[in-house]
């Protein structure tokens, strides 16, 4: 019974993928492109060694972002503010990281610590507003995204960057010193002929494990999940929903702080105006796709990165690469619906089986 339940819940994403491919095929057909040819081009480009490294590198921050969103989801909190949380953490840790000189391990740890702390504190505002002022977290986190963007732009241009007269350099923090950079794994894996595979991919795996441990193996995680599925019951079991909400927001924000670590210590080495943005929103997609499951989200992140990377080639063939954005969105929407349908089917069957047992007895 347990096994078949697992099996049916695997059906949902498969079903969603089929729907998404079907709809994209239709779309491509409507604009006069050959769908099969297009998918083939994408697949061929996406499976090259270079692409695989790029896909893995992309999926690291994406996965962490999904984990950040999922922590909130587990407690019934919708943290749409991951976007500004991670940018805030990245900026502050980049600025501080460039200002100090430390041995490598300490230096990297300091950057990570500052990123986690500042993102968590920024996220805590939304938690506080929800608990004390009754502002729904969806609205407060979205407003905080805009406010955060403004504050970041101000800090970057006026505090962390010295304007030079007549210079056209875009605002940016100073470069991180060598000791603050996480090395790539290429030498270790013996793939020197490929682009750099960033070392923080190990960090992403650890984040996944940490997420699993916190949410499923600690009493805090139990309280979180209990509050998420039944606030009333959790309250009677002694959980303090107010405190938990702020705490969950901070954990979510803390994970968000780690999103920027890979780009920062791996290939940007500074915070600039074109530091990767939008990862916070993409994380929501991945969390929905992977159903908040640590392994499911890993697949989701890789799938999305694959789509993004392989769509890059389409420009050369005059196919609008924006088809990838639609595929992403359709996958999310159909996966959400498919999970719901499967869940209903499974519940119905359980009820039927239970009543069979009862009537036999």
């Amino acid at each position: 019974m347990k096994l078949s339940l697992r099996f049916t819940s695997l059906l949902a994403p498969v079903f969603a993928l089929i729907v998404a491919f079907g709809l994209s095929t239709l779309m491509l057909y409507l604009i006069g492109e050959d769908p099969i040819e297009t998918f083939k081009i994408m697949y061929d480009y996406g499976k090259s060694g270079k692409s695989i490294v790029s896909i893995l590198n992309r999926s690291v921050p994406l996965y962490i972002s999904a984990v950040a969103v999922a922590v909130g989801f587990k407690m019934g909190l919708f943290n749409i503010g991951v976007e500004s949380q991670y940018l805030m953490g990245s900026l502050l840790s980049a600025a501080l990281g460039a200002a100090v000189a430390l041995p490598s391990i300490l230096h990297i740890s300091l950057i990570i610590f500052v990123a986690i702390l500042s993102s968590a504190l920024w996220a805590a505002i939304a938690g506080y507003l929800k608990v004390k002022k009754g502002v729904h977290e969806v609205i407060s986190t979205i407003m905080l995204n805009y406010i955060g963007t403004g504050i970041i732009a101000y800090l970057l241009a006026n505090i962390f960057f010295e304007k030079v007269e007549l210079s056209t350099t875009a605002p940016q923090t100073d470069l991180l010193p060598e000791s603050a950079r996480i090395p790539s794994l290429n030498a270790f894996l013996g793939i020197e002929d490929l682009p750099n595979l960033h070392g923080f991919i190990i960090g992403a795996v650890l984040v996944g494990i940490l997420y699993y441990w916190i949410v499923w193996k600690t009493s805090l995680g139990f309280d979180l999940r209990a509050t998420g599925s039944s606030p009333m019951a959790a309250k009677f079991s002694g959980a303090n929903p107010g405190k938990l909400t702020i705490f969950a927001m901070m954990i979510s924000g803390g994970f968000a702080g780690l999103i920027g670590i890979a780009p920062l210590t791996g290939y940007f080495f500074k915070y600039t105006t074109d530091f990767p943005s939008g990862l916070g929103f993409a994380g929501i997609t991945v969390a929905l796709l992977g159903r908040n499951h640590p392994i499911g989200m890993a697949f989701g992140a890789i799938l999305l990165s694959f789509l993004e990377r392989s769509a890059q080639i389409l420009d050369l063939y005059d196919v609008p690469k924006e088809i990838e954005k639609i595929m992403q969105a359709v996958i999310v929407l159909s996966v959400v619906v498919a999970y719901e349908v499967v869940k209903r089917y499974v519940t119905n069957r359980q009820i039927k089986e239970a009543s069979k047992v009862v009537s036999n007895a």
Binding site: L144, I151, A329, V330
Partner: protein, 407 residues
């Protein structure tokens, strides 16, 4: 009268303060007709989105997807206006939004997906669809770009009240009063002048929708049924109301309003579709709905407030600087109230913040432009955190309903 004043002092006092601050020359942009005119034009899309949210939530469906439906409104509005003319743009915007409303309804009503999850997915989908359509639809245009439409020609025409505001060739009473520069009277005349001059027909159309929405929901059998579905679906079902159909209609009307809001943004303020031009206004509309306690008049007031903040942001950095004193004064009042209520810890925090804003105000000439940009968003947060607790939302909003279930 005194009682209402006392009860709503957090609304009236800031208004009074603004009128006082505006007497200083540097801050006179706070109350000119130009600012109020801009405020109205900026408030209308927020108000429309808020009304959209109201229809959906009154029928029991939370609609976080308003932003996405608004994005569809901007894209379809711009496209149809570019192809056929502005009024077709309005129509296409409404249809585009309603189509996405339909998707949201299928997700939340038929498949009973979590309302917020579905809404978030709608927003993601809308952004993707708009980007894709934009590339496909304008592929053979010389100005082709993934994030913009070509410029839209064609005027809708506008209307100015004769005699009072100088429509046609008539004299303008309000304009005369504003130019007299009398304290308070001129400010008030500025408000009236801004509200009654150069109103485009689209704005008038949008404004008339407010009473129509109120009348539909509160004075027709259809509206009663719709509201009952959000309050007690089992009860409505037993009285023969088709709950699913009502929810579908509610969410689709909601999408239509949001789409209209998007089309309005394109046709009224920019004359062009630009990616990200909704800039969270769908969510601000949702906030104005919450602030307005799920009622049309309240939504109108709330969106007026946010529109005003937005207008200040666009028109004058100086005026935003004047707002710093306002914040400081409000914090002072709050801290006095807290001292009376013997909440000394919160009071000391408020006083410290109050002094902080005062020092900031005294030591600066302007507010950095990066901060000016988020004036409407921080206004939204502040307003919601001081208003949220007294609200009464539809009882069954956000809860899935399955036909034939027992409460």
């Amino acid at each position: 009268m005194l009682k209402t004043l006392k009860k709503n002092y957090l609304i009236f006092l800031p208004i009074a303060f603004i009128a006082v601050i505006a007497q200083v020359d540097k801050y006179d942009q706070l109350t000119t007709s130009g600012t109020f005119g801009a405020a109205i034009r900026l408030a209308i899309p927020i108000c429309l989105a808020g009304l959209g949210g109201m229809f959906s939530e009154r029928s029991g469906v939370v609609n976080i997807g308003l932003e996405g439906m608004m994005i569809m409104g901007t894209w379809f509005g711009a496209w149809a206006a570019w192809m056929y003319g502005p009024w077709y743009g309005i129509l296409a915007g409404i249809i585009g939004g309603a189509m996405f409303g339909l998707i949201h309804a299928v997700g939340t009503v038929t498949f009973q997906v979590d309302h917020i999850v579905s809404g978030v997915a709608i927003n993601i989908l809308a952004a993707g669809v708009a980007r894709f359509l934009n590339v496909v639809a304008y592929a053979d245009q010389p100005t082709q770009s993934a994030t913009q439409s070509p410029r839209i020609d064609g005027e809708v025409g506008d209307f100015t009240l004769p005699y009072l505001s100088g429509g046609g060739e008539t004299p303008s009473l309000f304009g005369y009063l504003q130019d007299l520069d009398l304290p308070f009277l001129s400010d008030f005349a500025g408000l009236l002048l801004g509200a009654t001059s150069n109103l485009s027909y689209i704005s008038i159309f949008a404004l008339t929708l407010i009473p129509i929405a109120a009348w539909t929901l509160w004075s027709t059998p259809f509206g009663l049924q719709m509201r009952s579905v959000g309050e007690l679906p089992t009860g409505s079902e037993s009285l023969g109301v088709n709950v699913y159909l009502m929810k579908y209609i509610g969410v689709m009307i909601s999408g239509g309003f949001a789409g209209l809001a998007g089309a309005y943004l394109v046709l009224e303020s920019s004359g062009i579709y630009r990616e990200g031009q909704t800039a969270g206004r769908g969510f601000i509309g949702l906030a104005s709905m919450i602030f307005g306690n799920y009622k049309p008049l309240g939504i109108f007031m709330g969106s007026g407030l946010f529109g005003y903040a937005d207008a200040l942001q666009l028109r004058s950095d100086d005026a935003v600087h004047g707002l710093l004193v306002l914040i400081s004064l409000i914090l002072l009042i709050i801290s006095i109230k807290q001292i009376i209520e013997k909440k000394y810890l919160s009071a000391s925090i408020s006083i410290m913040l109050c002094l902080g804003f005062l020092i900031w105000f005294l030591n600066s000439e302007t507010v950095p432009s990066e901060f000016v940009y988020f004036t409407p968003h921080i206004t939204t947060l502040i307003v919601l955190s001081s208003a949220s607790q007294k609200l009464r939302m539809p009882k069954k909003v956000g809860q899935p309903y399955r036909k034939g279930e027992l409460n």
